[in-house]
């Protein structure tokens, strides 16, 4: 029993260390974002702001386009995730339900596509878009986003569909449903939790994209929040620490909220996609 108690203490201690190591940087930035200018320069620094300056957030939202960047990111995420699901669901269904020539090649292509570097895509795309006049357009950007997240979503949904018995499809089709009708009105409702996980993961990935929008967008008003934050940082002469910190908090808040609320779905999604293969 004594050993067990030491064991439990060890687990608690270990978890405490982890939580501090991972929460501290975020907590520090949050604290900085609520300090006054002189407080951020104070040496040695105080852990907490003397009186929280919530006004810093108002200042950042008023004087920088960060609000605009957030809206842009939300829009890009919504469109890209929808688009990616529109191509990933049929492909996942095909891979899960049919045996066909070229299946091995197709699945290898989908798996390999997950690992292509965004930088490698972005450069030729930039040249192509210059030629087509698509620089600064969301059309090209969204297409690339979709191509980058769809392979992972396809693979994830395929493994999810593999757990849904085929008898379900067969029953619907014997009842006279076409295959399309079967998928839309029988299969999709069944895999709704899987679709939710896939959407969240695709959303988080899209939110974090940096290389592609950084290279393909020129106009400031179109930047997503990741590129916007670098922009804020590069104009560091004008922007002081507490505002940069507030901007960073604004940039991560939506994802963190999403992540904490839907944690269960996300763990399931990641593990199904990557471990079960």
């Amino acid at each position: 029993m004594r050993g067990d108690r030491i064991g439990r203490a060890g687990y608690h201690l270990g978890q405490a260390v982890l939580v501090i190591a991972f929460a501290f940087p975020l907590a520090w930035v949050l604290s900085l974002s609520l300090k006054t200018g002189p407080e951020t320069l104070q040496s040695p620094p105080s852990l907490l702001p003397e009186s929280p300056q919530w006004g810093n957030y108002a200042t950042v939202l008023e004087n920088t386009p960060i609000g605009r960047y957030l809206v842009n990111s939300l829009f890009l995420v919504a469109v890209s995730v929808t688009g990616a699901l529109l191509v990933a669901v049929p492909a996942a269904y095909g891979l899960s339900r049919f045996v066909f020539r070229g299946r091995r090649t197709y699945s290898r292509g989908v798996l390999a596509a997950q690992l292509v570097s965004p930088l490698i895509i972005a450069v030729p795309a930039y040249r192509l878009f210059v030629a087509l006049g698509l620089v600064d357009s969301y059309v090209g950007l969204v297409l690339i986003y979709i191509a980058m997240i769809a392979p992972f979503l396809t693979w994830f949904l395929k493994t999810y569909l593999d757990t849904v018995p085929r008898a379900l499809d067969e029953a619907a089709m014997i009842d006279g449903c076409s295959r399309l009708r079967t998928v839309v009105s029988v299969i999709l409702p069944t895999i709704r939790p899987g679709l939710a996980s896939a959407a969240i993961l695709g959303g988080v990935t899209t939110w974090s994209q940096f290389a592609v929008p950084f290279i393909l967008l020129d106009t400031r008003e179109l930047f997503p929040v990741s590129v916007g934050v670098v922009n804020l940082q590069q104009t560091a002469g004008e922007i002081t620490t507490q505002y940069l910190a507030a901007g960073s908090v604004l940039a991560v808040a939506p994802v963190i909220v999403l992540f904490v609320v839907f944690q269960r779905h996300i763990v399931g999604a990641l593990t199904a996609g990557a471990v079960k293969g």
Binding site: Y11, P25, V87, F100, G109, S117, A211, V230
Partner: protein, 321 residues
């Protein structure tokens, strides 16, 4: 997984109508009916992924500049200049150190964290949900924002929090985290480990969940100690997942540059210029499309090796499962 790739590979003869009942036949062998399901994704990937890959290989053999429309000619000079250039060798060296240490520590800490959360959960201890959420949140933050956040932590003046922490521990409290070339690379690696650990943890945690409790139970009844269980049962059973994780983390680390860009911009000098950031710099600051493309091809070659490994691992797992 019942529809395994290996089973399909061994039977090349398509089953005939006599082999299977007709209803099942319609499912398994749809003829052309399958392609409408697969084509949208297939076309998109061909257009958006295959074209750039072909194009970048082609451009890597030219002296093109990023300013489009200018004529260019084909040459091998790009690769020659890479092979001769000390700057490129330095970049490769930095990349190697960055990838090696980032990967090792992400995997070790991620695995340890997964063991911790999993173990605490099995003992019914509280707090595991919080731990999981906090660690994973780091993974969901955009890389550039992580760079900015760690830039604030690493502030080198007296108001920097990490320096303040060091001074409390009795150090000088003026560590040049980002301005000293040697220390800068360490600082970048630490920030990157912080960023990537969650991913390893999630995969390891899922892997641990697939090991049945009876296995541990049996080992304990046989009198195995904790370290024996870890070394002889957990790690061997986790090996496939650990290797898959390793491959994914290595690819991710080779290709990352957003965090480094925001944290150090590759500096001081080029002390933290990893390969992906080097590609970016060559292309968009030096405007050398040809040479940048050649560097990108080197990066891609590294990726291809990892992709091949990954496919082997996944297909083996599919075959076994």
């Amino acid at each position: 997984m019942t529809t395994s790739l290996s089973a399909e590979a061994t039977s090349t003869r398509p089953p005939t109508r006599q082999d299977r009942p007709p209803g099942r036949d319609r499912f398994a062998h749809p003829g052309r009916a399958v392609w409408p399901w697969l084509l949208p994704l297939g076309l998109l990937l061909a257009l958006v992924l295959v074209y750039p890959v072909v194009e970048i290989v082609r451009l890597s053999f030219t002296d093109a500049s990023l300013v489009s429309g200018e004529p260019y000619r084909f040459t091998l000079d790009t690769y020659r200049s890479l092979a001769r250039g000390t700057d490129f060798q330095q970049t490769l060296g930095i990349t190697f150190v960055f990838v090696l240490f980032s990967t090792v520590f992400q995997l070790l800490i991620g695995f340890a964290a997964a063991l911790l959360v999993h173990g605490a959960e099995r003992r019914g201890l509280r707090g595991t949900v919080v731990t999981r959420a906090v660690v994973m949140a780091a993974w969901a933050i955009p890389g550039v924002v992580i760079g900015v956040i760690w830039g604030l932590l690493y502030q080198e003046t007296g108001s920097g929090i990490l320096n303040h922490g060091l001074s409390l521990l009795g150090f000088s409290g003026q560590a040049p985290f980002l301005s000293d070339p040697d220390l800068a690379l360490t600082s970048v690696i630490v920030a990157n480990v912080w960023r990537g650990t969650a991913f390893s943890m999630i995969l390891c945690y899922a892997g641990l969940k697939t090991i049945p409790d009876d296995v541990y139970e049996a080992a304990r009844i046989d009198g195995a100690r904790a370290h024996q269980i870890l070394g002889r049962i957990t790690v061997p059973l986790m090996l496939p997942i650990l290797t898959t994780t390793l491959v994914l983390v290595v690819v991710e680390t080779f290709n990352t540059f957003d965090m480094v860009l925001a944290l150090t911009g590759g500096g001081p000098g080029t002390a933290t210029q990893v390969l992906a950031l080097g590609v970016y710099d060559e292309l968009f600051n030096q405007l050398n499309l040809g040479r940048g493309a050649a560097m990108a091809v080197v990066l891609m070659a590294l990726n291809v090796v990892m992709i091949a490994l990954y496919l082997r691992l996944v297909e083996r797992q599919e075959g076994v499962a």
